[in-house]
Amino acid sequence: MSLTILNAVIAVVAAIAFAAINAAYLVWAERRGAGRIQRRPGPNVNGPFGLLQPPCDGIKLMAKQLMIPGGADKALFMVAPVLAMAPAIMSFVTIPFSDTIVAHSMNIGVLMIFAFASMGAMAILLAGWGSRSKYAVMASVRAVSQNISYEIPMLITVITIVMMTGTMNLAEMVASQTGGIWHWNIVPSLSSPLMPVSFLLFFICALAETNRAPFDLGEAESELVAGFHTEYGSMGFGLFFMGEYANIVIGASLITILFLGGWGCPLGLYPGVWWFLLKIYLLIFSFIWIRWTFPRTTIYGLLNLSWKILIPISLFNLLLTAGLLKVF
């Protein structure tokens, strides 16, 4: 390719557009799904099936006045929503949607996604502290302790996968799983019999890391008003929302790449970006499904689950895989 800068610009614009469109229409999907599960219609007035609801919401959010509470720390209050959205978009740069559609294939792609994901906790912290409201501060402390505790089993599980595939390049990880469902990482093999457990661990951690119900202690509306974004209105709130959905898409993409064979077909036929999209949207649907069918956990139950169950299991899995990889 002779157009280096243009390629970069196109990649960035495409990443932002993909994140924004997903954010807008996943909100719609979430509300429709919630309606379906709770036996009510959900948004169905604007356009066919309510499909024009997201643009209307967007216009409403952008037209609203940007309010900053009197006691808030203005600088941090303004920075936090941007910090919630920007790292999520950065992570899209290295995600391979198919063997040709990737903005920048890095040898340390997994590491890059986790490096930028770890900035999300910083955004929540600054949002809570910057708005100087007790609900927001309490929620941000909760959300951050949750993020820290679930990052550990998640990273240990990723190390297991990295040991098996011998690479941190996401495209190479997918390439090692080509050729049908029995090659996918989710299927137990001789050197890693606990792979389905790893998948489950990673799935739970992805739910917790993206602050999704049943782990949405950071915005538990029944106890903390709206959690860390209590004081945010208009586009500040909008950016948090978009950041959350962008993170969900990234989480689903990571699960797809690490465990479900990326853009490969279950039967080895016609690999391509359509399989990738199908898989991530199925995963996102299951996220929505879980959110509206499980009640919220308590903060102690949540932290105990991570430290007393998930971390020991993931460590055991890591050691077992390391040992078996040495043997076989």
């Binding site: 157009l3 040898n107 490096a115 770890s118 910083m122 910057g130």
Partner: protein, 188 residues
């Protein structure tokens, strides 16, 4: 791809046209990273509110990570982000939230020697840095690898195994120390 196909594009967008500007662009990018680091450091040192200081520290770390990336060490850059922003800054912010009800920095009265001593220290450090910068011969290192994990791992366990072991001992001491402190508080 046929280069003439894109002839309607401004020259800078093509690789051939961009080559002439590459050094200038790299210089500007480097200056931006440097400015980010220095501004972050200044915020970290001079802000009145501790949480703002932590945010400044995070900005400083982003700048440093960017410089690592710029110097062809993507692995180090990502580790800087993951460890220093994802863990260190958040732990510091956590400690601030849990410890101090008021968030402004407490400053004791400055002694009469503070100013002169500070000046002397700053002068010494500046001279040392200038001496280092002038007397060091800066070689452009060859690009070893683009963050291949296998190479980094085998290097850590062979060439740099001493450093690796020492770091793990330091970490072990830190863990034991924090456990001792926590235990002490609990028995009361």
């Amino acid at each position: 791809m046929n280069p003439t196909e894109w002839s309607w594009m401004p020259g800078i967008f093509t690789a051939e046209g961009f080559a002439g500007y590459a050094d200038a662009a790299a210089g500007i990018v480097f200056l931006i990273m440097l400015a980010t680091t220095i501004i972050g450091g200044i915020i970290a040192c001079n802000s009145e509110r501790l949480v703002r200081a932590v945010a400044g520290l995070a900005l400083c770390f982003v700048g440093v990570a960017a410089i690592y990336y710029f110097l062809n060490s993507p692995f180090l850059a990502m580790m800087q982000m993951l460890i220093y922003i994802g863990a260190v800054c958040i732990t510091i912010a956590f400690a601030i939230m849990l410890a101090t009800p008021e968030e402004s920095k407490k400053q004791g009265p400055a002694g009469p020697l503070t100013g002169p001593l500070g000046l002397v220290t700053a002068g010494l450090v500046t001279f040392g840095m200038i001496g280092l910068a002038v007397n060091t011969k800066f070689d452009i290192m060859p690009k070893v690898n683009m963050g291949k994990v296998k190479i980094i791992g085998s290097q850590l366990l062979t060439t740099y195994s001493m450093v690796f072991e020492l770091v793990s001992v330091v970490l072990l001491i830190a863990i034991i120390g924090s456990l001792v402190i926590a235990r002490h508080g609990r028995s009361k």
